[in-house]
């Protein structure tokens, strides 16, 4: 597998602000890369540098082997972009928009089929200014596909969409991957990253603070797996003194971190020998969300909150 996107030591400053601060990552061709981060983390800045829309301050960037700023014209024939806050000519319909882009690129997609693919078939003849936010976003996606791109850049394609619309975009992204295209996706939604991405990069204050597959990130940054008992606090105190581990006692819950799987047997036999009655137990491991909350901050209905000022 070769790299579709390579980023080394990328920096973008706005005055004293380092919007992007020495980041590195590689996106293998044919994979889906999710770029996760709260508002203002530097996702759009990075994305637009990759698309050749903004000039970088420092560092090396290659997309399909091209320098996006200097070789933008050549690159743009081969990539598809849906910007955050996609806007288009107000009086033009989705079908006309697709035809327009197709003539600009010299490609021949079937507009209706392309629009159906992003679940916008029924709005193909409605003017852009009458479309809802989500429908506009879908048109952006359809336009990004008119040139049959090798790499697709999707900057928050599902923000503000209802669950059904979001799922239809996910389906498009899965299809893109099946077709062997590379997808660079920025999002606030962890669920989206977990469901779609081969690799995830978490950006915070312009720096990548974690990267890898979702599993790798959890292993590297998550807490140890825990046994959780529904039991009185007395069990907690007993285990604390007998096991010497950092047992957490919550309201009617006792959580025991496990170093290894064998640890579980030791804990269970200690519980048994305590003679204290308990109702049941579960095991608990960190999700990407838990990792996130610990590394970045609290979340807001499954999405990340804004960056807190550094």
């Amino acid at each position: 597998m070769s790299a579709a996107i390579e980023v080394r030591g990328l920096v973008k400053t706005y005055g004293p602000l380092a919007a992007v601060d020495h980041i590195e990552f590689t996106v293998e061709s044919g994979s889906v890369y999710a770029f996760l981060g709260p508002n203002g983390a530097g996702k759009t800045t990075t994305t637009e540098i990759l698309e050749g829309l903004r000039r970088r301050t420092e560092g090396e960037v290659r997309v399909l082997g091209l320098d996006p700023w200097k070789q933008g014209y050549a690159l743009h024939q081969r990539i598809g972009v849906i910007p955050q806050d996609f806007r288009f000519f107000e009086k033009i319909t989705p079908k006309e928009g697709i035809e327009y882009y197709a003539s600009l690129f010299g490609t021949h997609p079937d507009p209706q089929e392309l629009l159906q693919r992003v679940d916008l078939g029924d709005k193909s003849n409605s003017r852009f200014d009458t479309l809802s936010g989500g429908q506009k976003q879908k048109l952006g996606l359809a336009l990004a596909l008119t040139n049959n791109p090798e790499v697709c850049f999707l900057d928050e394609p599902t923000t503000g969409l209802d669950p059904q619309a979001r799922r239809s975009i996910w389906e498009v992204i899965r299809t893109l991957r099946r077709e062997g295209r590379t997808v660079f996706l920025t999002t606030h939604y962890l669920e989206e990253a977990e469901l779609l991405a081969d690799q995830v990069g978490i950006i915070h204050h312009g720096k990548i603070i974690a990267s890898g597959t979702p599993g790798e990130i959890i292993r590297a940054h998550g807490r140890a797996e825990r046994l959780v008992f529904e039991a009185p606090a007395a069990l907690g105190s007993y285990l604390r003194s007998n096991l010497g581990t950092a047992v957490e006692i919550h309201d009617g819950r006792v959580e025991v971190p496990l170093e290894s799987n064998r640890d579980a047997l030791r804990v269970l036999s200690a519980v048994e020998s305590s003679g204290i009655a308990w109702q049941g137990f579960t095991t608990k491991r960190d999700t990407l969300e838990d990792v996130f909350v610990r590394m970045v901050g609290p979340m807001d209905e499954g999405a990340l909150k804004s960056e807190t000022p550094a």
């Binding site: 050749g52 972009v81 000519f89 327009y100």
Partner: protein, 372 residues
């Protein structure tokens, strides 16, 4: 440069335009309003003194000066001294917008004193009977008065100053409305692309439409050419409406020839590119509008749009000659009114060269993407 892409973009431009009924209505009705408004205000005529061009070949002799002063006092005519070549006096009248002219011959005072009959030559335009009658009445009235006062050797003597029936002026008379048509066509060639391109340059940037387009193979010059094509089409429509309204409502005399076509192309070409350039150098929509106005307003009034430049004080005439729109309007004057091909070619050449330069500058400085 790819015609397919220009055409694709043009389709979007035309559709956007046609789907905006208010804008469409105004751009069609506005030329008619302009013609009707200015035509009615300024060509009302009829009342008041008739402008009378006088060429005094008697070298301002006291008698001739007294005669003209008396003429002016009638309030029927307003005397303006001119200095045209005598041979072409009668045709110069029309070209300069006069419908009556008077030639005072050399030796006027000497003949008057010697009581040798002398002829005053009056030129009038039969199409403007009111002005002709008013001028004829004034001139023969004053001549009678002078004749009565002439020293006669006792008894009656033959009238000394004679006013033979007036001659027709030797060229088409151009009235205000005739000048107004090329002027107002020029006005819309300037204003409609300038104002909307300045606006587009900043609003497309703000809405990210340029950014979007930069991700397609459409080039800046293709994009600009598509806009230019659209304004050329609009200009043809506007010109047709204005000529139609001018002729239909006010009986304007303008020549409608293919010679007009180059102006209707290079004019919008120049001002679309200039509007884009103005919108590009500005950093904010407000400063874009300001720069646009600074460029547009002097041209709007000083290029011969509403009044012929030849009527301006000489200082303003100098200013007019550095304004690009002057050459557009002057060229159309030459084509539509005076059939002066040499000057028309010169004018169109000036505009074409400017258009190419401004186009190149606009393409050079206009950025699809943020550079900072």
């Amino acid at each position: 440069m790819n015609p397919r892409r220009i055409f694709a973009d043009l389709k979007v431009v035309v559709r956007s335009y046609l789907r905006n009924p208010v804008a469409l209505f105004f751009s069609l009705i506005f030329p008619i309003i302009l013609i009707a408004l200015f035509g009615t205000i300024f060509s009302a005529g009829g009342s008041g003194a008739v402008p009378l061009a006088v060429e005094n070949l008697d070298h301002n002799s006291p008698t001739s000066v007294a005669f003209l002063a008396a003429l002016n006092n009638t309030s029927l005519v307003k005397v303006t001294l001119v200095n045209y070549p005598v041979a072409s006096f009668s045709s110069q009248l029309g070209d300069n917008g006069y419908s009556v002219g008077l030639l005072i011959p050399a030796g006027f005072q000497a003949n008057y004193t010697n009581r040798t009959p002398v002829d005053l030559t009056l030129f009038t335009n039969p199409e403007n009977g009111a002005a002709a009658g008013q001028a004829e009445g004034a001139v023969s009235g004053i001549a009678n008065g002078f004749n009565l006062r002439a020293v006669c050797g006792g008894g009656s003597c033959a009238p000394v100053i004679q006013v033979p029936p007036s001659k027709n002026i030797g060229s088409q008379v151009y009235t205000y409305i005739d000048y107004l048509i090329p002027g107002l066509i020029g006005f819309s060639i300037l204003t409609s692309p300038m104002f909307s391109m300045v606006d587009i340059a900043s609003s497309y940037r703000k809405e990210g439409i340029f950014r979007e387009l930069s991700l397609t193979p459409l080039t800046k010059s293709e994009w600009l050419l598509s806009r230019i094509s659209w304004y050329v089409v609009l200009t043809f429509i506007t010109a047709a409406i204005m000529i139609g309204a001018g002729v239909g409502l006010f009986g304007a005399h303008v020549e409608i020839t293919l010679g007009l076509v180059p102006y209707l192309i290079v004019g919008p070409f120049l001002f679309v590119a200039l509007g884009m350039l103005a919108g590009t150098v500005a950093r904010t929509p407000e400063s874009a509008a300001l720069i646009g106005n600074i460029i547009t307003f002097p041209m709007m009034f000083l290029s011969g749009t509403f009044f012929a430049v030849s009527m301006f004080p000489s200082g303003l005439q100098v200013v007019a000659h550095v304004l690009p729109l002057y050459y557009v309007i002057d060229g159309m004057d030459q084509v539509m009114l005076f059939s002066n091909t040499t000057r028309a070619l010169f004018d169109v050449g000036v505009v074409a060269i400017l258009a190419v330069i401004v186009f190149a500058l606009a393409v050079r400085f206009f950025q699809w993407r943020d550079v900072e």
